[in-house]
């Protein structure tokens, strides 16, 4: 099973600023994903982070707001840009290989004031 770490674990940010979240996997994986969990809600997929190419975004999420990088098979970043209070959520990254179980990082708890 993959072990996934995220940094930071939590942050409090002012509106209008940006935050970059890092996700590190302890082994090479084919697929990495970023999810958002708004307060009291379920998880929603933001995008699939593709190694060496642009991320694939789900409906309702755009690259300008959530730029994603994936420079190699073990690391990805998600930036939350020009933040507003509505961006206050837990952001989780996950990883898996095709046909295999998906594992999640511990999440980044973001509060925007």
């Amino acid at each position: 099973s993959a072990v996934i770490s995220q940094k930071p674990s939590r942050d409090i940010c002012q509106r209008g600023t940006s935050l970059t979240i890092q996700c590190q996997v302890d082994s090479q994986v084919t697929m990495m994903f970023w999810y958002r969990q708004q307060p009291g809600q379920s998880l929603t997929l933001i995008a699939t982070a593709n190694q060496g190419s642009e991320a694939t975004y789900e409906s309702g999420f755009v690259i300008d707001k959530f730029p994603i990088s994936r420079p190699n098979l073990t690391f990805s970043t998600l930036t939350v840009s020009n933040m507003s209070p509505e961006d206050s959520s837990i952001y989780l990254c996950s990883a898996s290989d095709p046909g295999d179980e998906q594992y999640f990082g511990p999440g980044t708890r973001l509060t925007v004031t």
């Binding site: 099973s1 699939t48 789900e58 095709p98 998906q102 999640f104 511990p106």
Partner: protein, 109 residues
């Protein structure tokens, strides 16, 4: 798109009781996972079960893919079982998961 429905939305149990959580999905899936989200927000993998039955200690799960549902059984519940249980399904080799709305379980001592 595929719909994932979990029931019940909330459940309160006395310690030692048994429970069954249900996950219905509206289309064929190639992946189904059950997770427990603890009070600190960590998602813990319980089962990877696109079909069949698995058991792990006091927990077991059954997925009947042809009838598009999965069940999670918790026996002899403990207070540490409290939290939110999510069912999530994958529909293609792309790997992304679609989550249900969860069942919030509270186990009282």
């Amino acid at each position: 798109g595929i719909q994932v429905e979990q029931s019940p939305p909330d459940l309160i149990l006395q310690e030692g009781a048994n429970s069954t959580l249900r996950c219905n999905f509206s289309d064929s899936v190639n992946n189904l996972q059950w997770f427990h989200q603890n009070p600190w927000g960590q998602l813990i993998n319980l089962f990877y079960i696109p079909s069949g039955t698995k058991q792990n200690g006091r927990l077991s799960a059954t997925t009947v893919a042809t009838e598009r549902y999965s069940l999670l059984y918790i026996s002899s519940s403990q207070t540490t079982d409290s939290g939110v249980y999510f069912c999530a399904v994958g529909i293609n080799q792309g790997g992304k998961l679609i989550f249900g709305q969860g069942t919030e379980l509270s186990v009282k001592p």
